[in-house]
Amino acid sequence: MKLEIGNIFIKDVQLGQETMINEGLLTINPELLAAKILEDERIKSARVELAKPGESVRITPVKDVMEPRVKVFGKGTVFPGVAANKVEQVGEGRTHVLKGTAVMTVGKIVGFQEGIVDMSGIGAEYTPFSKTLNICLVLEPMEGVETHAYETAAREAGLKVTQIIGEVGRNMTPDEVISYEHHPIPHLAAAYPHLPKIGYVCMLQSQGLLHDTYVYGVDAKKIIPTLMSPTEFMDGAVVSGNCVASCDKIPTYLHQNDPLIEDLYSKHGKELNFMGVIITNENVFMADKERSSDGVAKLAKMMGLDGVIISEEGYGNPDTDLMMNCRKVEAQGIKTVLVTDEFPGKDGKSESLTDAVKEADAVVSCGQGNLVITMPPMERLIGTLEDIETMIGGYEGSLKKDGSIEAEIQIIISATSAIGGNKLAARMY
């Protein structure tokens, strides 16, 4: 499978009449986008606002972040199987990307599970989305719409708008084209016999309402572990439907731009032989955990892997999946490295994870979510501050009179995202 990613560098974004790109300036029509969203009768209001890096802007509550892309040739569309898109295999051909932009869905679903993005100040240092030109969709549900239905509506609204914006890049000449190839397993194994064969196990959040992920439109709770080409992620085959705690959420944007996949590709053929991605879930039912971790270990063995990187999404329940995957993969004689974040309490002295096995002796930390910071007031607000003190990471007294916010960094979107993409790490001295 070969996928060309054509990056169109977007330098600025503005609201206007026509949706177009001119010399790096993206213009979007907010009325057109809002009208498209309001075709869904579960949504009462939709407003489009822009937020740019360095501005004194606070965006909250943020639910998901997506990157506008379009399939120029090759099968299927981006985000296959969701938001009324046909289910067709993706990951081959060419995909154009409006690089530097992001679409954010903003607005309350339940009062504690969405997060903050600050575009400047110390809060901006903790989220990757303070560096993108953000097209924010501020949504409100129709009265009486049930929470599950509204979560679906908000998720689909974000995906539809992201696709509409991505479509602008279809006939553009990209500023750069990067080629990613994924060969059949026997070819891969033969190509670099002297290099260690490495796989990536991507654990997807799959517990229930606001804790789900979709793979080609299938609820990840219902999958058994399967093998994917890394290029399928780039075409949006994996879509987030969750906001676990904001800090360790993996938004759709980070699935499209998975930092582990990027790094594994960059070392492929040099330091290691990147063999592919195994996706698995994080169900609440203990027997599912056993079934899925058995499946992960089996696939790793069948692929002939020497080593595996395992990432997770969330805290608590997923820690057990992480450790089961580690133990069972190691039992096959395959080395593991775990990628996670930590919640050791405000004094930093508690257990960072709620589960552990002795085989977990190589762990990369993406930071600890209990760190408390004070984010200065911002001049402009996109969304509402109504729920700051009850969001995960906030507490009584978090929102100060001057508009500053004292809170744990778990309130910030992707601050400790356990696939990387953030700036935090732990080092041993």
Binding site: G208, A287, G316, S350
Partner: protein
């Protein structure tokens, strides 16, 4: 048969007429009570059917907790006991650091909804799998 330990009245309401579930309703606004009660059952040889930390919510965030264990008693399942003991230790430490705040009824409703949705997924998977 399965035993559902919960302090969430919405969970009781949803599952009270289900024939293969025995509900142990805990009258507590603290999830630790549900963890202790479940731990005691596991020590007697019941099996853990759903993970004690569903939802990835920290123990000092949601007052509600629902856990499903087997009704049948078998040999002590050491891994399950270890899992719940680790969760209890983590919950104790979190609550020591910062107790659960006093929430508005609207927010409590949201917490009950999420807890209900997550445990219901676990219950339905258990029913489908006939692993009770």
């Amino acid at each position: 048969m399965m035993i559902l330990i919960t302090n969430n009245e919405d969970v009781v309401e949803q599952w009270k007429n289900c024939r293969d579930i025995v509900i142990m309703k805990r009258e507590s606004d603290n999830m630790l009570d549900v963890l202790y009660c479940s731990r005691d059952l596991l020590h007697k040889g019941h099996c853990l059917l759903t993970h004690p930390f569903t939802g990835s919510l920290k123990p000092n965030e949601s007052p509600y907790k629902s856990i499903l264990v087997s009704e049948t008693v078998k040999q002590l399942h050491v891994d399950h006991v270890a899992t719940i003991e680790q969760c209890i230790a983590s919950a104790q430490k979190s609550l020591e650091n910062r107790p659960i705040p006093i929430y508005s009824e609207k927010l409590l409703r949201d917490f009950r909804l999420i807890d209900k949705d997550l445990i219901s997924n676990g219950i339905m998977r258990a029913q489908e799998s006939h692993q009770k």
